[in-house]
């Protein structure tokens, strides 16, 4: 789950980090009031879950409150990579002397958090990684010890040579790591981490993603979810416990297992079709899940056919068949359904489908070819 910049900054402040001030508003009047409070010179930043806000015109500098309100007018309601801007963050401008980068991810290979810093901040860090990898200093943090003081200090010395700044940076890195762990984050980033002309080090942008698997035990963090930033289909899939990703094609896919679901999409493409979605109904065999899956898929007017590809293992085929029959009964499905079921309790499943007047094929190639054909 991605957090908005203003939410990420709140977490950082709560962890004791130096962060520049700022408040959100959702109309130009509110922005004007905030700009006046901050003395006129402010930055107005679109709060959407997307990188490249600056390039898209979603970040504007204002020299007085009127200009800030005009910027807000332009930014609020604009679309950035398909997302509508509903809120802006208003912050006083800072006297920036240097811009650095600091971020934490989980490293697959090291199986631990990895803290990355670069004295070249304020730009696309992936670009720095590609063009000048030596400018990025990485540190694998042993989860048994956490980030040790000397490690934070050592990284901070890569960012600043003035000990007064190094000390502040080490403190921020230590707290960034704390915030990362204590909030169950999968990513936490400060870009840029600035030093001011007055010798202060602080975060003026913040990006945090929370590991979805942590949300069950962190209600305060889970409450930060912005319902407006999620499509109706995504919200419904999440509520039903389905993995769902909307795509642009017309073959609706309903598969058990993420790997098989990806392979099914790939095979639709291979046979000349276009998948409308990724959808994994998971290892459970709850008929309600199938109903929810069908509702999500059929809500997309572009979908011309629904393809079921089920290989029963932990999911029993008879349960899925039962779910399909129930769902078809409950819903008014106007498009064709093609079904492939194999594995645990396959025979039972075929009987259940047959009773309801539905047929199933046994091969994946077959069912995909049929679906592509029906989608035209």
């Amino acid at each position: 789950m991605d957090l908005h910049e203003y939410q990420a900054k709140e977490l950082f402040r709560a962890a004791g980090m130096a962060v520049n001030p700022g408040e959100v508003a959702d109309d130009p009047q509110g922005v004007r009031a905030l700009a006046e409070e901050y003395g006129g010179r402010v930055v107005v930043k679109a709060q959407v879950h997307s990188g490249g806000r600056g390039k898209a015109g979603g970040v504007k500098l204002a020299t007085d409150a009127d200009e800030a309100a005009r910027h807000a007018e332009a930014i609020l309601g604009m679309k950035i990579r398909g997302l509508t801007v509903g809120h802006v963050l208003v912050s006083p401008t800072e006297d920036i002397a240097t811009e650095a980068y600091a971020g934490i991810l989980v490293d697959r290979e090291g199986q631990c958090p990895v803290l990355m810093v670069s004295a070249e901040g304020g730009v696309d860090i992936e670009e720095v990684a590609a063009t000048n990898p030596d400018a990025i200093h990485k540190l694998q943090v042993d989860p048994r010890y956490g980030l040790m003081p000397h490690q934070a200090w050592g990284l901070a010395t890569r960012l600043f040579s003035d000990p007064a700044l190094t000390k502040q940076a080490a403190r921020i890195l230590t707290r960034l790591y704390r915030a990362f762990v204590d909030n169950g984050a999968s990513m936490a980033e400060i870009n840029p981490l600035i030093s001011t002309g007055g010798g202060k080090v602080k975060a003026i942008d913040a990006k945090v993603s929370i590991d979805d698997n942590e949300l069950f035990r962190r209600p305060a963090v889970a409450a930060l979810r912005d319902p407006d930033s999620e499509s109706e289909a995504d919200a419904k899939a999440r509520a039903a416990g389905l993995s769902f990703v909307k795509l642009e094609g017309n073959v609706g896919c309903c598969v058990n297992g993420a790997g098989l679901a990806m392979a099914t999409m790939d095979l639709v493409k291979y046979y000349g079709g276009d998948p409308a979605n990724f959808l994994d109904i998971g290892g459970s065999s709850n008929p309600d899940k199938v109903v929810a899956a069908l509702e999500i898929i059929t809500a997309d007017a572009g979908v011309k056919v629904i393809l079921f590809n089920i290989f029963g293992g932990i999911t029993r085929c008879d349960d899925v068949a039962q779910g399909i029959v129930e769902a078809v009964g409950r819903l008014d499905i106007a498009i064709p359904l093609v079904i492939r079921l194999t594995g645990t309790n396959e025979e039972l499943a075929r009987e259940i489908l047959a009773e309801a007047g539905l047929a199933a094929v046994a091969s994946m190639d077959e069912v995909v070819q049929e679906a592509v054909r029906l989608a035209g």
Binding site: R108, G184, V245, Y270, I314
Partner: protein, 295 residues
Amino acid sequence: MSIYVDETTRVIVQGITGRDGSFHTRQMAAYGTRVVAGVTPGKGGRSFALSGKEEVPVYDTVADAVAETGANASVIYVPPAFAASAIMEAADAGVGFIVCVTEGIPVLDMTRAHALARDRGCRVLGPNCPGIICPGKTTLGIIPGSIVTEGPVGLISRSGTLTYEAVHHLTRDGLGQTTCVGIGGDPLIGTSFVDCLAAFADDPDTEAVVMIGEIGGTAEQEAAAWVSANLDIPVVGFIAGRTAPPGTRMGHAGAIISGSSGTAAEKTRAFEDNGIKVAKRPAEIAVLARESLGR
């Protein structure tokens, strides 16, 4: 021969009294797995019926189960909130091989669980994996016994049902398996492609290997390089997620293209550059495997 486990492996089940745990324990026992005990905290002292005839004791702790039964492997079917802790308990009790089926474990929990497993020198398979099956010998996890058969192919996969799909084709085409290993769809897993490849390399019965990868991470690239440098039996590959958009998690927590890294194209290229034939469709995996074995 099989890798990691065989018919002598003494297996305990953590979460044996749960819905999934009890179902799959009976499936395993029916297949022939030597299930010697179960563990469910608070239910120690009861017994669990493997079948109409056989039952095994349930213990409160893995340490008790190991002490009483001499178990050397564990399969974990406990909810995500407790699964990392269950792995740590098994590792701490000296269980040498741990299969964790559970999906949805917080990644930071797994950083600690994997660290402890390394400290204790035990191997974790998964989490978020279907387990391991040695046809005709034993199965630990949820891979349906009905789709496998004994034979010369070793199979390694990040996926569950896609593995079944591939095995299904192999079996139907007369290519049995020495062992099928589902290494798991999470970003942090205990046993990698390379680990399994090295184990298959030491198994004289494995004459070819099938590797089923997917988008996200660089495990397939590392495996390809390892194959090229170390393995002299044929390897057939498949990569799922060619149509996945970047930056979006495709179900598996580990299946995400970060920036331009971890794409199916990149992985396919790594396979091909290292002499691994790549199937375009799941059904083609068996075809290429048969060809590579000259059958």
